[in-house]
Assembly symmetry: C2
Homo-oligomer: 124 residues x 2
């Protein structure tokens, strides 16, 4: 990787049931197939591994200089408004030499919402 | 509405922070704009109103004979594998005269996952 290598973290909530993460594993596979030059890691807020810090650490080990975290959440409630900024700050302190940013939740995106509408319409 | 009128329920988890539901409100607005002949209601598993039973009841009051529930969840963990079927069964018992069905979680859909991938790619 070059010195400005970018990487992405797909950040989900986590759950006790391991089958919950199947769509996240598929997201990571889709990313790898479509963007083979941009490293991707999953990370979870709770109940699943790796943590956000562990995922960012893996990216740094692989040579990333810039990491973008994408919260794979529908809504921006307490988890994203309170817990997530604290985690992100801790990661910035721990990894001061990389550029760390985050997008809004994927549920804020019109294209994602439209895809949900189309899925729902196909069910009728 | 005619005697076979269909209706849809967009079923989310719910959260303490009222701002969490903004994408759900936008989903319902998008649905109304694009499918004005198919009634839509939001419903939540916990922490927000209305419940699934209340939303289905509203549809029946409005004349629906068939209700399709779309779980707006990413993964199918304990909430969808354990809690949701119990709720759905209770609704079938309470409303025996309507046809009640459910789709998989929206996070199981390839088009939804692809929309998330594209949102993530735009952030780079």
């Amino acid at each position: 990787m070059n010195a400005k290598a970018k990487a992405i973290v797909l950040f989900g909530h986590g759950a006790r049931d391991v089958r919950w993460r199947e769509p996240f594993d598929r997201l990571a596979s889709l990313w790898k197939a479509q963007h083979p030059n941009v490293l991707v890691e999953l990370a979870f807020l709770e109940l699943m591994q790796p943590s956000l810090e562990e995922a960012i650490g893996s990216h740094i080990t692989a040579g990333a200089m810039e990491v973008v975290v994408v919260p794979v959440f529908f809504g921006q409630g307490g988890h994203l408004r309170n817990d997530f900024p604290v985690l992100l700050s801790a990661c910035r302190e721990k990894f001061p030499n990389i550029q760390l940013s985050a997008t809004p939740a994927v549920g804020e995106d019109e294209v994602v919402l439209q895809a949900i509408i189309e899925f729902s319409a196909r069910a009728l």
